[in-house]
């Protein structure tokens, strides 16, 4: 079922990507062509198949809950767009 313009705008909103009305229109066409390709998945019965998340069905390993990385606060703050007093700065959230 083809995506409507409203759906395209809603998805972009969820993905936190600003799109103009003109871009929404272009994307609607492109995404619908891609979903026509994806819809081919519906042609077979997948009832008995177990979903596969990992190619080798490896289980998530566990480790002791101990810090393993050195503290490098300065190095990581240095590459941020905006910081002050050792913190990341973002636009005001609470009035």
């Amino acid at each position: 079922m083809p995506l409507s313009l409203e759906q395209v705008s809603r998805i972009a909103e969820l993905a936190r990507i600003e799109i103009s009305p003109a871009e929404a229109l272009t994307l609607q066409g492109e995404l619908n062509r891609i979903f026509t390709l994806i819809e081919r998945m519906q042609e077979i019965d997948t009832g008995a198949l177990a979903p596969m998340a990992h190619a080798l069905d490896v289980r998530q390993p566990l480790r002791e809950d101990e810090p393993s990385e050195p503290e490098r606060r300065e190095a990581f703050l240095e590459i941020a767009p905006e910081t002050a007093g050792g913190l990341y700065l973002v636009p005001k959230v609470i009035e």
């Binding site: 995506l3 759906q7 395209v8 998805i11 972009a12 909103e13 969820l14 993905a15 936190r16 990507i17 600003e18 799109i19 994307l27 492109e30 995404l31 062509r33 891609i34 979903f35 390709l37 994806i38 819809e39 081919r40 998945m41 519906q42 042609e43 077979i44 997948t46 198949l49 177990a50 979903p51 596969m52 998340a53 990992h54 190619a55 080798l56 490896v58 998530q60 390993p61 480790r63 490098r72 190095a75 990581f76 240095e78 590459i79 941020a80 767009p81 905006e82 990341y88 973002v90 636009p91 005001k92 959230v93």
Partner: protein, 487 residues
């Protein structure tokens, strides 16, 4: 020297017939002369490279050299490299200097290799042509009006033009093998988990795998000896003792059972590629292998499955790019949400935005079962079919890509046409299998064709051994493009 193999370079360095500084300078000079026509590199930093080279020379001087000490290697700009810019081909990371090294970079550094530069790529490894780069498209050294394939197109073009002895790449749906095929070089996508993903900027984590691009299978084996191995910082890194990747080089292939799936030679494969790959099959038979027909019927669903799973994982992985902790931040915003939305609209290119939207949709409430869950089930079916096929054969052989290199711009505006390039490469990613592309001749307009060998999990030594045997009997992998004209 520019065409010498890694073992030859290693011997020359050990015999002191050349120093690492001289060798590094040789390749840096070639990059300066040739790369303006190819755009294979995003970052070159001669000062840093030469400092590493002189450290390598010192190491060689005091008898502490390993096999690859002093050899310059180019790295796909997806591997975080301390002190170097790591862009992932994106405006989002155009000025990002990583505070740490990827596991792969650590290993090459520990081996004493020289970082020759960071290679161009499709943004966030999304693409099959290396045109989706914020830093401009990569050109194919065999014909600069054509694409080199992607997403590791910069690495493939650099090796093809002998701007680097070898390079690293990553492969999520074919991004090592397809550019290797289109650029006439050899590329290996290892078993999922063989090479650590730590510090390799994530696209689709259940599929992403780093691997080598070089002139020959023998060189890929040498590269794997450095790259592969367990890393506790990647939870999907394989724990078992890794194989000796060079162990089957030079072994005969008598009796090797090569599975040839009819589905690899069906509609969509161009006649010139089919002819070259069939000739490769004939050569393998002359070398003692036998061929058996196998079937992979669910392969026709590999592209649809991939374009659900990979974008879904990408939409999650790329949510970290929010303009707060690192990377690009928009200049124009009134509040936090607008800052996020504009940062991501301006920082990501068109293909990355498209895939994030696909992924966001297929994971959204009410659509999860129809898309994501169904895709994961068909993924299992595809793997089951490989398991069944491997009860009849030892390796599977087919084309790597449906056509030779296409013209720059030819498929850029049609995402679906671009996606169809990965028809033969995606299945190995979905099943986590190792797969290798080797040059096997030339097709339309004298452009290189690649043949793909797919093996069982952990069977890289056999794949590399079979490919090496083929490369001892043929000389396709030694062919070099004519020097591109100056810009």
């Amino acid at each position: 020297m520019i065409g010498a193999s890694l073992p030859e370079l290693s011997a020359a360095l050990a015999a002191r017939s050349i120093s690492s500084v001289e060798l590094t300078r040789l390749f840096l000079d070639r990059i300066a002369a040739v790369d303006p026509r190819l755009n294979a590199f995003i970052t070159v930093d001669p000062e840093k490279s030469l400092a590493q080279a002189s450290a390598a020379d010192a190491r060689i001087g005091c008898g502490e050299a390993g096999a690859l000490t002093g050899i310059p290697v180019a790295h796909k700009d997806i591997f975080c490299t301390r002190g170097w810019r790591t862009t992932c081909g994106s405006r989002m990371l155009a000025n990002f200097v990583s505070p740490y090294d990827a596991h792969v970079i650590e290993r090459f550094n520990a081996a004493g290799c020289v970082i020759l530069g960071k290679t161009n790529m499709d943004e966030f490894a999304m693409g099959s042509s290396s045109e989706n780069s914020w830093f401009g498209p990569v050109h194919n050294p065999w014909d600069v009006s054509r694409v080199p394939g992607g997403s590791s197109g910069g690495s493939a073009a650099a090796v093809a033009a002998r701007l680097a002895p070898a390079a690293t790449g990553t492969d999520t749906g074919g991004s090592i093998r397809q550019p290797a095929a289109l650029s006439g070089v050899t590329g290996l996508k290892p078993t999922y988990g063989a090479v650590s993903r730590y510090g390799m900027i994530a696209f689709a984590s259940s599929l992403d795998q780093g691997g080598p691009i070089a002139k020959s299978a023998q060189e890929c084996a040498w590269m794997m000896e450095v790259m592969a191995g367990h890393d506790p910082r990647d939870s999907t890194s394989l724990r078992q003792v890794r194989p000796d990747y060079r162990s089957e080089l030079g072994r005969p292939i008598d009796g090797l059972r090569i599975g040839v799936p009819a589905e690899f030679f069906a509609q969509g494969l161009s006649a010139d590629v089919a002819a070259a790959v069939e000739e490769a099959i004939a050569e393998f038979r002359r070398l003692g292998a036998r061929t058996v027909e196998v079937h992979l019927p669910a392969m026709r669903l590999a592209i649809p499955v991939y374009y659900v799973l990979a974008p879904a994982e990408a939409s999650s992985n790329l949510s970290r790019f929010d303009g707060v902790r690192y990377g690009y931040r928009t200049q124009r915003y009134r509040d936090l949400n607008e800052m996020y939305c504009r940062t991501r609209a301006e920082g990501f290119g068109a293909e990355v935005r498209r895939r994030i939207l696909i992924g966001t949709y297929v994971l959204s409430h009410g659509y999860y079962d129809a898309y994501y869950l169904r895709a994961q089930k068909i993924r299992r079916l595809i793997r089951n079919e490989f398991d069944e096929a491997f009860t009849h054969c030892d390796v599977i052989l087919g084309p790597t890509a449906p056509t030779v290199a296409f013209a720059l711009g030819a498929k850029r505006t049609d995402p679906v046409q671009m996606y169809l390039n990965d028809l033969y490469t995606i299945p190995a990613n979905l099943a986590g299998l190792p797969a290798l592309s080797i040059p096997c001749g030339f097709g339309e307009a004298g452009l290189p064709v690649g043949a793909q060998l797919i093996g069982r999990h952990f069977d890289e030594p056999r794949l590399l051994g079979a490919a090496h045997r083929y490369q001892q009997a043929t000389d396709w992998h030694t062919r070099m493009p004519a020097e591109p004209h100056p810009a």
